[in-house]
Symmetry: C3
Subunit: 445 residues, 3 copies
């Protein structure tokens, strides 16, 4: 009875446990789509809610198919491993890895929908999503996580602070800039009107769902519970997973506190949406560096990421005059860039071993510039072409009536009277031929 | 120091890790109740929301108790292992297994509530739920997963595409048929009125919660991370878990795309509810076969399951004239049957080893016919008896005023004026004795 | 090739797997904040929703930072291990443990916000949260789980039925008592007015999110999947994890059933909010004892915890005349105390080994009295001081207009007309300088 060496192969043990962990966190990251859907739905007018919800559903559905067939192959191609589409070369283990990559990709994609809310045509948005999932995002991951050009220079982005969130936020800003603002957002004299979203409750629900999923996003990127070294089982990324969990938590908290403080200073009140978006900005800020940041660094990064939110939002709104409806640039774009660039200044000493603070900073700047440049160029090109052929925006009439009716033929809240001048049918019963049921119905509802 | 053989028993290792996995996915599947509650609440009128929510809460509460005391025993009895109620013969490990089974059982149960919304009496619904959890569903699992008659013939249903979803969807259709449509749903000339739900936002939130939980449902059914073979640790179901995750993802996406395409072709617009329900139909379609389907098969199954949704919904509504409020038959019933029957045509070659395509198809047909027949008969009997004794439906007055008031004494949204002719109290303050506070309150709210 | 003894160290294996489990359940418990936010938001007036949401966001954000810097150190100090703040002495593994503790701490903190809704100043609430996270709660855990005085006497509280929920519920009741009721809650003749919450849908959504997270809370407290005994891997707490999962499930179900039954007896109808809160009370009731209760004991504890809810709520409302807005005392306070005290009467025989039923009961009484006494004293002191300096409540004008406007400057639902006499801006477009855009906007929304 001494067949012990054959009983448990450390590689099998590590594979099973690591697969389980990656699957669980992948599910959590997928659930962020519910978060984005609610966060964005809450921040748009009630006449555009169904449009926002549909865009979120189709981002995932269309995007994940494109990433399966093409994007995964483009990423490996740019990374130098040839066109290895998950559809053609996947096996059971590969498919888990593909899905883990896919939920990150779809996070980048879905960020854009919040910026272009209220006026982008559904088919314009879906066209962009197809290209983002098939090419634009895979080029970024190929250059970085996939081992391509940026990886050869050196950079730090643990879970996608720049690759996913920075990229998505910058893409959103670019798209909103090309599209132009919603009707009524700016006056002829250049002054700005606030168009408040229809439900803060849904927005905060979305925020908390996102924070929940983000633990999967950041902590889950510590993807190897176990590794095998010299034939022996060791903790893989789990040797530092506690730091990732701690810095993610502290940065999230300090993001909310930082945004609250700036809101209080600016207006004397604590704007709920700033608190929620500040919490998210804190999460974005730490996402590039949760594994390498000191505990006090998490306070710094989170606090700055949160505090910059109201300021950058005001700058985009009032100076750039870009109508970024759901504040995706201050939440994902600038917070992602800031966190990525702060890396050398808040890093643990071991994280900077073999380099200098200046050297690491230059690496990060080059990384950010390349990713931002590619994202801006590609996004401006796609929406520019769509705009040139008149396919980017809905008509002014449709925009005024709301995209729910013109693009989807639905009323999100048919029973609740809405005071913005858009007639609703008052929840009356509509026949499938379109006419409205009236007195001839004996037992009407 | 060579006591290695005693250090780690592969069986203990497998047990601990497998228990962890099963617990995590069980929690995810449980969370689907939040998804069903939101999906259904969003699809009913505001006057029936609290009723729908209460039914969902009681489905779980009453159902899980019945399944603990009786249903688990009936299932084992029908499966041939004697009446082994979880209450009486359970131990720690058994109870994890029981709970894993219970969350599947309660999924089947809760589907029905969406079909009978807006007119079924609470006590009729609860009575049916008791019988479903104690007998109707356990008979199905006893015959199949429990090793009973259908298992002896041969069939394929990995995670309950037919056993859970097909069964629930068929039960819902049967119940809705026996109950008759809501007042106002059909006109005297046979034409149809649409009664739109009160909130697409809640419906889409429910959809995404369900999709999240579904990863637990399908991927979690690959329940053994590790197995022990010849004394050695091996990957159990985790040797193919990546296929399950991939086909589930692709089918979900293609369900949404398929339903969107049909909606676009039929009406020129993309109906948000069709996209959401199409995504769910794609998930239902793959649920019987995620472990055995090729990657292109997942596209086929998901696409068909999604595309059939608007068509089957129209058929049920206009031809059968059955008022299936939340479209549970096209989402769970027909999609579940279709996925189950498509098995031999999309299966990997190894999945058909030892049989033929025709042989496997006949097995699936027999399986579907038995489960459907039993479900229809049992459900029609229960609701038929309830109807015969006048206990199935609320009175027409109560139905018109809404079940929230008559069955629960509450107003779901007391502050929001509703335009459907039902008077609300305008959120005024009500005394606990029922009178309305007025001028005598000095500092009214 | 016989280096087997070196291949897999059981301690490394246990550490990796246990860390994974603790992280997953920690995420689930964190998600309970979304549950509390929705449950409470649904139970307040629409004019106070943003305030409630902000309080929930800041409870987590401010609380977790305080618990990191100070609370963790106070807990260890009171427990007898010196001031070991997580900020200063944490390592990767310690930080996972800290975060696991933090999500329990923040659960206790967030309960209070539901009791003081609709009239507490934001800064009063945040001040209390800081003190709770830094001192009040850490003293309780130091005395118990941390190995302090109560631990030396003996007590049973597995997952915080008393330490977390009982403490939070009692703190909430105390704070609501010191603050006084909302304007309009009681008439001059002493009679009571019901002020219904604005959305049962959000309340039930919150309930189901909480139940989902509670599986992490209770089952996750069985925190050791594996242990190492005499050099060999064994199941740790997972040897009894099935009992925890089963009793938690049964008690939750029986809580909903118990509250439904009492509601039906009292009013002839099944109040949806009682069902939801009853389900939660059932969960609270079992939280101290899920590992030691028999299966029939789970029925008893859950049923009593649910049934007492409407009764205790009525007592607090009508006799004590304390305005506990979200019923946090009957849900968390009395249910937590009851479950804790029922321990000896429903325990398995092995759980009472070495003691007697009377001895165990006395231990539980002493434990409950000390925790309740400390909580009441500390909470009354903090809110008493705040009240004495006029910082506890908003002005009557602000209370009548709603805290959303006065404290946050926002309107949660700007497009939905609200019938409670509070003027809303009808969703009109507001300039950033505060003026309302009118006719000069050519293309208004």
């Amino acid at each position: 009875m001494s067949f012990a060496p054959l009983q448990i192969d450390p590689a099998v043990l590590a594979e099973g446990v690591n697969l389980m962990w990656v699957l669980v966190v992948t599910f959590l990251i997928f659930f962020m789509h519910a978060g984005f859907a609610m966060l964005e739905a809450g921040q748009v007018r009630s006449k555009n809610v169904a449009n926002q919800l549909t865009k979120n559903l189709l981002t995932w559905s269309v995007g994940v198919v494109m990433f399966f067939l093409i994007g995964s192959g483009i990423s490996s191609l740019v990374g130098g491993s040839g066109f290895a589409s998950a559809a053609l070369v996947g096996s059971s283990g590969d498919w888990v890895g593909w899905l883990f990559g896919a939920v990150f990709a779809m996070t980048a994609a879905t960020i854009v929908s919040g910026a272009v809310a209220g006026r982008a045509k559904l088919r314009a948005y879906v066209t962009y999503t197809i290209l983002l999932a098939a090419v634009i995002y895979p080029v970024v991951t190929g250059l970085t996580w996939g081992g391509g050009f940026i990886a050869s220079l050196g950079y730090q982005d643990f879970a996608g602070g720049m690759i996913v969130h920075g990229m998505g936020g910058i893409a959103g800003l670019t798209a909103a800039w090309v599209l132009g603002p919603r009707i009524g957002r700016y006056n002829k004299d250049g002054s700005v009107n606030v168009i408040p979203g229809h439900s803060l409750t849904f927005a905060v629900l979305g925020t908390l769902i996102l924070a929940f999923g983000w633990y999967g996003f950041n902590v889950g990127t510590a993807a190897t519970v176990f590794a095998v070294e010299d034939g022996a089982l060791t903790l893989g990324a789990f040797s530092y997973v506690g730091r990732v969990a701690m810095t993610t938590t502290i940065a999230m908290a300090c993001g909310a506190i930082g945004a609250s403080a700036v809101s209080l200073i600016k207006t004397g009140k604590v704007d709920t949406l700033y608190v929620a978006n500040g919490l998210l900005a804190g999460l974005v800020g730490i996402t590039a560096i949760p594994d390498t940041t000191t505990w006090w660094g998490a306070f710094v990064v989170g606090g700055i990421a949160g505090a910059q939110l109201p300021i950058v939002f005001g700058f985009v709104e009032k100076r750039l005059k870009i109508d970024d409806v759901c504040a995706v640039f201050p939440v994902h774009g600038s917070a992602g860039v800031i966190g990525t660039l702060l890396f050398p200044f808040v890093a643990t000493s071991s994280a900077l071993e073999g380099t200098t603070m200046v050297g690491a900073f230059i690496d990060q700047v080059v990384f950010v510039v390349i990713v931002a440049g590619w994202t801006i160029a590609a996004t401006a090109l796609v929406f520019g072409v769509l705009k040139a052929i008149g396919q980017a925006r809905v008509t002014p009439e449709h925009e005024r009536d709301g995209l729910d009716i013109s693009e989807h033929g639905v009323d999100t809240y048919p029973e609740f009277g809405v005071d913005d001048g858009v007639a609703t049918d008052g929840g009356s019963i509509v026949r499938t031929d379109g006419s409205v049921a009236g007195s001839e119905v004996t037992d009407n509802e």
